[in-house]
């Protein structure tokens, strides 16, 4: 045990004396959370819009009031003629124009239907799309309020409720995502690099010739990273909770246990990478290309898995990060217990066993 503690102490020396690894360990998580939390967002806030109201009746006024009251839009100006729309867009300030047709209220009364046109600047397609959706929901909201007052309205009324994230905050998506990326990066990449570094320097040989058993060597190398990853997970979840108001509906204990499980999965993957690569460069390339890109692209962190082509969806199943993101979201947002995420948990356990098994097999082959 004393030998083991000495080993861990040495490992911490390595980490704390290397500015690069320090940055990856502590600078990166905070920078990423802040970046994703504040800058990279697909929410809209205070988007400048213009209104062209041909009818100017009570009905349109009500809707315009609603739009003005919402935090998403800021009505920059009101346009009088259709021709002015184009030039407004060209100025670049206005992102959308709402066009109410003539006799809006009257048509709604007599024909049960009136038209409002939402014209958006689609040079930025995501924003345009979001604006269209947001305005639509405001109209729907207005409509449904009316229909409860006047019972004579017929037709289908859509009432959508956004569960678990009613304000559609993108932070709720990014916190689990960033946590996954960081834990993967720290656990898999940093351990694989630190193990291959010993191989490269020749110190691994010295360690293997020493009375330390191979599993003690590996355990000693990964233990500090378990510790640091746990700290990272705590930092990320706290930032999500305190700065961005991300709820933790489920059990914190369960979240902690699942996070440690994922950390171990990533570590075993890191160990596996270190058994197949002989230099730090190789380990880094494999980690970056083989892990980081799939984690970011195929895990459902940024791009929804359901809209990927089938082969990609199949591949995404082999990525541990995908399952961990599901687990974290389920616990934090839906507040579910273990019984709902049993499948995902077992998949991670299975993957961990597989990676450790492969690593032992590779190690044995080298001895033979």
């Amino acid at each position: 045990m004393k030998r083991f503690l000495g080993f861990i102490k040495k490992e911490f020396y390595h980490i704390f004396r290397d500015k690069r690894s320090l940055f990856i360990l502590f600078g990166m998580p905070i920078a990423q959370i802040l970046l994703f939390g504040f800058a990279i967002t697909n929410e809209i806030n205070n988007v400048e819009i213009a209104i062209l109201d041909y009818s100017k009746d009570t009905e349109t006024q009500k809707i315009i009031q609603k739009i003005k009251a919402s935090p998403y839009f800021h009505v920059a100006n009101e346009i009088a003629i259709e021709k002015a729309i184009e030039s407004e867009f060209k100025k670049g300030k206005i992102k959308a124009v709402l066009l109410f047709e003539k006799d809006f209220a009257k048509k709604l009364q007599t024909e049960m239907k009136a038209t409002v046109q939402v014209i958006t600047d689609a040079t930025e397609p995501n924003i345009a799309n979001t604006i269209a959706n947001y305005t639509q929901s405001i109209f729907q909201n207005h409509q449904s309020q009316k229909s409860t007052v006047q019972k004579n309205t017929t037709g289908v009324v859509i009432q959508s409720r956004m569960l678990y994230n009613p304000e559609l905050k993108s932070v709720f998506n990014f916190v689990p995502g960033v946590m996954t990326v960081i834990l993967m990066l720290v656990s898999a990449m940093m351990t694989s690099i630190s193990i291959t570094r010993e191989k490269e320097l020749g110190t691994m040989e010295i360690l293997l010739v020493s009375p330390l058993k191979p599993f003690q060597v590996i355990l000693g190398k990964v233990f500090p990273y378990i510790f640091l990853s746990v700290i990272n997970a705590i930092v990320i979840v706290s930032m999500g909770y305190f700065i961005f108001g991300m709820p933790i509906q489920g059990s914190i204990l369960l979240l902690a246990v699942e996070s440690i499980l994922f950390i171990i999965t990533a570590l075993s993957l890191g160990i596996f990478i270190s058994t197949i690569s002989n230099s730090q460069q190789t380990a880094m390339m494999i980690s970056l290309m083989g892990l980081m890109l799939p984690v970011i692209i195929l895990s459902g962190f940024i791009f929804p898995i359901a809209s990927m082509p089938l082969p990609m969806q199949v591949i995404s199943n082999t990525i541990p990060a995908k399952w961990f993101i599901i687990i974290v979201k389920s616990i934090m947002l839906k507040g579910v217990g273990l019984e709902y995420i049993l499948k995902e948990t077992l998949i991670l356990v299975g993957m961990t066993i597989l990676f450790i098994g492969l690593s032992i097999k590779n190690y044995k082959t080298r001895l033979e």
Partner: protein, 246 residues
């Protein structure tokens, strides 16, 4: 010094195969306690492979080897506790100070804090390290590092120390100093098992084996070998042997 009755390494029919390639072809030899044993051979002759089996980090395909009274295959843990090892690559941690390196390597061999402290003192004295002890190993010149690495390999007072081309890349003066350290250890009764490329170093050994293509072609004292091949230097012995094989 050489107690011929006490054999500390006994190798019988030791074989190592990688697929169809046989790197070590059933070699037999022994090393006496307290002797400096030179293990020579050209690159690819199989000497590193053989050495890896002796230090317990590679399993023999066939045959057996007994090191310090323990079987390398079945009792490798016991073997490891009794041997020291220094490899051709310089193997200490550059980002740790001299003292931290000593503490770490002492620690993994299970030395107590008290033992480590007294050993460190002695080392700093004998190597005249002084202030350098607080410096990071990466800032030391190569010669210092090699001497330090050797001292660290001797920290737990092993019965045998294996040196894999310990003087690669250092200047002649440091090499000379290094061999003085080896002699000093051998005087204390430690067995030295050394591989080298430098044939002048082979002259310093008590006995020398020369490996060619996985087989030990010659094994004797440097003097006897030179007589046997009727030449004046070990270099010529080596060349003659290699030429005869071809």
């Amino acid at each position: 010094m050489n107690n011929l009755s006490e054999k500390i390494i006994v190798v019988e029919n030791l074989t190592k195969q990688f697929g169809h390639f046989t790197a070590v072809k059933g070699i037999n030899f022994h090393v006496n306690k307290g002797e400096i044993f030179g293990f020579l051979g050209a690159n690819g002759a199989g000497k590193t492979t053989a050495m890896k089996m002796l230090i317990g980090i590679s399993n023999p395909t066939n045959g057996r080897a007994n090191v310090a009274g323990f079987d390398v295959h079945t009792q490798s843990e016991k073997v490891k506790q009794n041997i020291g090892y220094m490899s051709q690559k310089f193997s200490m941690y550059d980002d740790l100070t001299v003292k931290e390196n000593i503490t770490f390597f002492g620690g993994i061999y299970g030395l107590s804090r008290k033992q480590i402290n007294s050993k460190t003192e002695v080392l700093i004295q004998t190597l005249q390290l002084g202030d350098i002890a607080q410096k990071k190993v990466g800032d030391l010149p190569l010669g210092w590092k090699q001497k330090l690495a050797f001292s660290v390999a001797m920290l737990h007072e092993p019965k045998i120390v294996f040196l894999d081309e310990p003087t690669g890349g250092v200047d002649p003066i440091t090499r000379r100093q290094f061999w003085e350290m080896i002699y000093a250890e051998a005087h204390k009764g430690t067995t030295i098992f050394v591989t080298t490329h430098y044939m002048d170093e082979a002259e310093y050994c008590d006995r020398v084996s020369i490996m060619v293509d996985g087989v030990i072609e010659a094994l004797d004292t440097p003097k006897n070998l030179k007589n046997q091949f009727q030449v004046s230097t070990m270099n010529e012995v080596f060349l003659k042997l290699a030429r005869n094989i071809e």
